[in-house]
Symmetry: D2
Subunit: 304 residues, 4 copies
Amino acid sequence: MCRWLAYSGRPVRLEEFLVKRDRSLIDQSLHSRLGATTTNGDGFGVGWYDDQQLPRIYRSTHPAWNDRNLRELAAGVSSPLFLAHIRAATGTAVQETNTHPFRHGRWLWMHNGYLGDFLRVKRSLVLEVDPVLYPEIEGSTDSEVFFYLALTFGLEEDPLPAVERAVGFVEATAQAHGIEDPIQMTLGITNGERLWAIRYSSEGRSRTLFMSADRETVQALHPDNPRFKGLTDEDRLIVSEPLSDLPGVWLEVPESTAVIVQPGADEQVPFRPQAHRGPARSPEPALEANGATTTAGSGPPPPR
Amino acid sequence: MCRWLAYSGRPVRLEEFLVKRDRSLIDQSLHSRLGATTTNGDGFGVGWYDDQQLPRIYRSTHPAWNDRNLRELAAGVSSPLFLAHIRAATGTAVQETNTHPFRHGRWLWMHNGYLGDFLRVKRSLVLEVDPVLYPEIEGSTDSEVFFYLALTFGLEEDPLPAVERAVGFVEATAQAHGIEDPIQMTLGITNGERLWAIRYSSEGRSRTLFMSADRETVQALHPDNPRFKGLTDEDRLIVSEPLSDLPGVWLEVPESTAVIVQPGADEQVPFRPQAHRGPARSPEPALEANGATTTAGSGPPPPR
Amino acid sequence: MCRWLAYSGRPVRLEEFLVKRDRSLIDQSLHSRLGATTTNGDGFGVGWYDDQQLPRIYRSTHPAWNDRNLRELAAGVSSPLFLAHIRAATGTAVQETNTHPFRHGRWLWMHNGYLGDFLRVKRSLVLEVDPVLYPEIEGSTDSEVFFYLALTFGLEEDPLPAVERAVGFVEATAQAHGIEDPIQMTLGITNGERLWAIRYSSEGRSRTLFMSADRETVQALHPDNPRFKGLTDEDRLIVSEPLSDLPGVWLEVPESTAVIVQPGADEQVPFRPQAHRGPARSPEPALEANGATTTAGSGPPPPR
Amino acid sequence: MCRWLAYSGRPVRLEEFLVKRDRSLIDQSLHSRLGATTTNGDGFGVGWYDDQQLPRIYRSTHPAWNDRNLRELAAGVSSPLFLAHIRAATGTAVQETNTHPFRHGRWLWMHNGYLGDFLRVKRSLVLEVDPVLYPEIEGSTDSEVFFYLALTFGLEEDPLPAVERAVGFVEATAQAHGIEDPIQMTLGITNGERLWAIRYSSEGRSRTLFMSADRETVQALHPDNPRFKGLTDEDRLIVSEPLSDLPGVWLEVPESTAVIVQPGADEQVPFRPQAHRGPARSPEPALEANGATTTAGSGPPPPR
């Protein structure tokens, strides 16, 4: 559907990976090799942390390959942590509010894949979103609703369990609607300090995801490649598809796996959707029209 | 907030009222006289019925005054029934899906005004939308949710009572949330055969609305004006503000009033919000995640 | 570079060929089979003659495949004569003024191909444009300059010789600059009454061009295909690549050939660039800064 | 026509002046007080020097007031030198290539005003542009041609005399065409090290231009205003209209005057258009179609 890229490490200009590679993300917008679609021309977005460690977003509905502002920005901005996403829409409108990454507070979220038969389950999923968060939803995509479900289930406190619960809830909802293929995803998530990348699909044949090998390995394999001279131990790229054909540089992230990029050693852990046992969320603040106070959604709702 | 125009009558080119008047709608996009805002530059939309009597929409996020495609279209297309709307956004994103008129089946809907403190009541309002209709909501505006509420309450069967119920529901919901100024509106609504225009606000000081005088009056007042030579008895314009200063041509629509433009004599009737007694809508088709079948809306609501 | 389509015949909705074919023009914007590029996502344009026989244009910088307005327009507008073009930019900006078809008076012009090494010859070519026409040039493409050269050389009086002279001039100018591959082109040109389609390139290996077979042939080959029931003898499509795989329906236009679609029998004639012998054009109206009146360009300049 | 702002001094976030003032530039896009037009909604541009001292540009065709990317960029980017421009178009297309600032090498240029009766003189002006520079012209505005004239006349070597010659040439050309009001302008120009601001018009009633007072004056007048605590002696703003009503903070730049903002003391000098004595420029590299080498421009100017 889409292609994305996430970088964490020493500050680099965005163009380093968005533009200046044989198979840079901008190149992939026109000629993806591994994507479900060749062309990812339905808008794009870049999210980066600025020198105040605040997340900034540039999003556009134009194809990445012909957007001059993107090239200017990518040349002019350096960051130690950024995400970029090129979109191939699957029905929902091409508009900035449908373009990744999505942002909430310090968090950025991007998604490649889909929630199966989304329009059939959309209302049930949206009802589960914390009513306090609900008004923030601006677009119409499955990916944004998915983000707000994960936030509802505790993303800001502990991201992986929250996403596991969100996926569990999406799968349970889909199954209740008789939908066979509930979810397909690779996710890139960050709070400005760590980066979580997840590969999963209900059917067990997920969209591709790769991470760059560690500095030592890369430099040993390519001792004369000037591109790798300045690498540090903390530099890590996660990508939907490799930016080059250099052997040994790109490691496939296994199925049903989450990668955590962080200061010091990174981690790789299994990703297992959690059976839904009710979200921990803020009480519904809204009064219904009849004036009665209710709690929203399925609550801490034993008898459901 | 916005400005709009609705025409019903003999087929005319759209440019007749969008472009070729001293104070055409395009002119009003830059220099509104009566609007809450002078500039209505946050996109626009035109809806017209084509020679198959099907509604077509052109919407853009650019200001109407500098959109060349709008001028081309307005010059090239004739229609016996069309709506046009220029937007001044009040917080929600400038995107085509937030641009009026909105469409459902044969129906078009446009709104000038607001639902008070919308983000606080949005979830409660959206929950009331018929679950079958819910997935059609593509944008993030109050006006679109308002349209889907009216559809939920029976717009397609009997428009005025449906809007009266929708307004009643919006007002009741707002009051339950302690919102003082629930709704401000002029509405233009059509199914391709009739045109309903409504002026109302909870505070009783509504946005302006005018209708053109009947053929006989206009021609008697301006016997030499070539513009009025070809008028027929069926021609009627409804506008947020007059397209000219010609005396006697524009009649103000009174507060809390609906105008029905139709073959034969048009009508003018009081508009009175209806206390909400529960919508007539299709049963909830969705299964909740636990597999139980429920009906939608806020409740197990027998006595509502 | 690009793909295009021209239709002349009984009035049909634009969507008939832009949308409702297996390999409609919109489909080709994402998946061209025969184009120099697979993706033609750098904007598009549609030009049609309205019920006053006036040419109207809708142009957009978005990819055709995701532009909702294009689908609305294509569904709502019928015309007996229209052109449509999808662009794959080759360096110049993606902006509406670089999008085909270009218009002058009643004339529309669209081009697939290029003028070789355009930036090196641009000034020389532009200097040759009639000074009266010069201020109309709004964009930065080779195709628009080419159009204004053809207009300068008499397009409105006799199109084919004018284009032959324009191509001759482009080739001579390129050769003087040592450019090996001066021009590559298929052209679609119309004045609202006739349609000229030309296939030519300096190297003799031109971009593909096809025309639909005549009614009798098509109906004989496909007697049961409902699509062809309503055909008339005047219906003709010219396309960069076929809209279907139906055998016998699409005839390749030969190299260096012009097709003239007109009431009665269409024509097919050789296309031969003309050695440049000076344009027939209006005298330069401009005064130079020193106040002397001069004639523009190379004038009616005998010895050139 | 337009409004603009230029800043030079200690690095500040762009939002400081684009967003965070009562009458910030974004506010002026909707509500200009001193402009020839109230609304400047036909696109905008920002040019800044990044941490490599390279000029970067973000330009958009949307109104500044509703462009979210502009707010993101303005919040995320700091620079010691930047320009920003909001456009009110006067006939030419709303497209990024018509949006200021324009860039050549390290130089940025923005203009408020017009060249009188531009389409009548455009060809004569463009012919004067150095043929080496000519292919860089991408848009269709008077302001961009003006920039390329100034470059042709030596902007990169000595800016003020070059602009004086360019204005002299524009005025002479206009007079030769019988145009009464040749030029109206305020200009903001920079090479990344200095900033030139010029106020001039042929009629002697120029668009407004203001500069901020020096640090000492501002702090003496407003000792308690926290906004001015961090000022340095080098900080200087030049604006089409003041960003606040604070007395003593904004000094009007006199008619026919240039301001030079530079390290150490800034300068203010008279601006006097120079009679055109032929440009100093590179020899014409182009071969005409007949193969003869010619020099460009209107002149037989031997000693050039």
